[in-house]
Symmetry: C2
């Protein structure tokens, strides 16, 4: 075990500093006066909170016509390259790693195949990827202090434990502790969908939305949900399970034990299963199913259409129940977008109740590096978290919180 | 139009005063020290905020062993009869009115049949009921300043407009303004389910829950939903429409235009329709359907069982998506509780995803006066609302907000 690197944390030591920092981060350049107006802090408090951040090089002042440097009217902006962040997403087949700046802009991406899902192999793989990413640039090595790691499944961010990973077949793995033995960075581990929801909320389509949902289609069907400005985590640890809304009645049995779940019809595996059953070809892959459908095979097209109906019903259930401002649908399952987008939109339109149909539906691809960017975003979050209350972990760093 | 009564509002003039008042209201008796600890206010701020409330007779000090009267350790409690509140629920058949104290405890209940759903008749009926309720006691007349009125449908609380009432066939009715011409009280109008959710949150099963749902079964199937300590109102004005989650696939057509909605299978009307179709008896009433099922008619029992399955699926969808701590199922539809409770619980257990099954399911009747009590609860709310931000309308007056 290497000695741990001296932490050189940004001087975010009070809730006011966290508020000022996140406001400039997500909305800058912005003047101190505007920061005060948007956050409800006094101008004096903003100036006081900004000073150490400027001195440490995290914030900079733009010149302003209304006043000289240091005057309240000088807009503040983030010095995005003051610190770098690593994000690594673990799947059952590969690791995807990125280096980002403070705004979670991706500067570098690496893909490493995983030879095994065994815990030791994955931990070693993550450590090797960290070494490789940091070796790319002297500044990365000097100015990187935080690593975010994400994985599908049930993850306890606080303890860094992976409670259950369905794809890697892990149970109760103290991943953050194991990584800390090999990696000399501050480590945050979280669920992958929650992490990209954070990235969307802070740096993407979720900016300014008091409530939105990010639905990911693929091997699983997941959802990050923000309501009243905060991510919904579920009183019993379960939330956002749009894949397990029963929309097909007594329909197919789901791997979760229930019937008619969205995931039992529209996950990648379910689509492949139905295509194999329909065609009698037992070795069809998802790529072949997509190609066949695109070439006009009616039976395969119907499999995708049915998946689109299931997804549309799931989205309508969410809109009718929690009324998000917008829903972003993404994930690798969206590669087949052209094969079910019409059914998703049509079903949503029919099943959305009244004004819930006004919910904006954004269907857009999610390149695999976006998942790793989500991991980096939770690493960026660690800068302010110690300065705020636990509930703020999933909070909205913007004055749109009502 | 009678001259408007001089407003004698409780001296809740700052957010701190509102916080202190609501903390004592929902958790009292409680010492100033505990109020400070639970709310994050300083002891000095608590003492300062409490003083005018004590002087105006809204709060009282209990004697305490640790100190004399006025000492910080003396527990504060609400003087519940310092002010009375009227609540009136409007249905298409009758008005239900109550007088409550500050804790929304019902002191008096009255039922008035409505001869017509016409607007004039209803406004006159509400005004007559107000007069009758206040005439019951001199103290009611002297110490009542606020009236809450609730109705099913789409209501804009801010403006007091009923945008749409399906049962009374109203559209865009400025109900608060019309009532203000006849009733000399501060008037709040809101949706009936939202109002009983407020009552549950402040004074009932919702106390201490950071998230819970109250589902009402009956002519409609509605739901008030609290997530992260706040009622979910929906970005586009629609939320909690558990009755319109599509759980039966291509199942029956719903009055909303969609298919397979919970309400298309489990509302009172849907149950009666299915019973009539099944038996061929075109004049069956809901009471006859219930009686028949209780006497063992298998076809009628299956109608209720199917409704139970639809409700159980809707509840599971909610638990999987937002993960409330508990779900309270209630409403006049629960009169037939014995005929579908088993199916509700069994279906919920099967369809809830993982730990979502730990969500507590409380099935309990909702006497009609409870609806009027909800109306009174939103009248109680008006005491603090002017002192807090608009977003706080649906907020949680307790330190459990994280």
């Amino acid at each position: 075990m290497t000695p741990r690197r001296q932490s050189r944390r940004a001087p975010v030591t009070s809730p006011a500093a966290a508020t000022v920092f996140t406001t400039v981060l997500t909305q800058g350049p912005v003047s101190r006066v505007d920061v005060a107006r948007r956050t409800g802090l006094s101008s004096a408090a903003v100036t006081k909170a900004a000073r150490p951040l400027i001195e440490a090089g995290y914030l900079a002042e733009l010149d302003s016509e209304q006043g000289g440097v240091g005057r309240p009217a000088s807009p503040l902006e983030i010095r995005a390259e003051r610190e770098f962040f690593l994000g690594i997403k673990i799947t059952d087949r590969e690791l995807v790693g990125v280096v980002t700046d403070l705004r979670a802009q991706v500067l570098l991406t690496r893909f490493h195949p995983l030879s095994s899902c065994k815990l030791d192999a994955v931990v070693d793989g993550v450590a090797a990827m960290v070494t490789e990413l940091l070796a790319e640039s002297k500044s990365y090595k000097q100015r990187t202090h935080c690593l975010g790691v994400t994985i599908a499944g049930d993850v306890d961010r606080e303890s860094g434990h992976v409670r259950y990973s369905p794809f890697l077949h892990w149970r109760d793995v103290p991943l953050a502790d194991l990584l800390a033995e090999k990696v000399d960075l501050e480590i945050t581990v979280d669920n992958d969908v929650k992490a990209i929801t954070v990235a969307e909320r802070w740096f993407g389509n979720g900016i300014g939305a008091d409530s939105f949902a990010l639905v990911t289609l693929g091997t699983g069907i997941g959802c990050g949900l923000v309501v009243n400005g905060r991510v919904v985590t579920g009183s019993h640890g379960v939330a956002g399970e749009i894949g397990h809304i029963p929309v097909f009645g007594d329909g197919p049995l789901c791997h979760c034990g229930a019937t008619g779940c969205v995931e039992a019809i529209a996950s990648t595996d379910a689509i492949v299963d139905q295509a194999r059953t329909t065609t009698g070809e037992r070795d069809l892959t998802i790529d072949e199913v997509i190609t066949g459908a695109r070439m006009g095979d009616e039976a395969l097209r119907r499999v995708f259409a049915r998946a689109g109906v299931a997804i549309g019903r799931g989205l309508a259930a969410m809109a009718n129940l929690v009324g998000p401002e917008r829903i972003i649908v993404s994930g690798e399952g969206l590669d087949a977008y052209d094969l079910f987008a019409a059914e998703i939109r049509e079903t949503f339109g029919t099943q959305a109740f009244g004004a819930a149909a006004h919910c904006e539906l954004i269907l857009r691809p999610l390149p695999f590096e976006e998942w790793a960017r989500g991991a980096a975003a939770i690493a960026v979050q660690t800068l302010f978290l110690s300065a705020t209350t636990p509930g703020a972990v999933w909070g909205q760093p913007s004055p749109t919180r009502r």
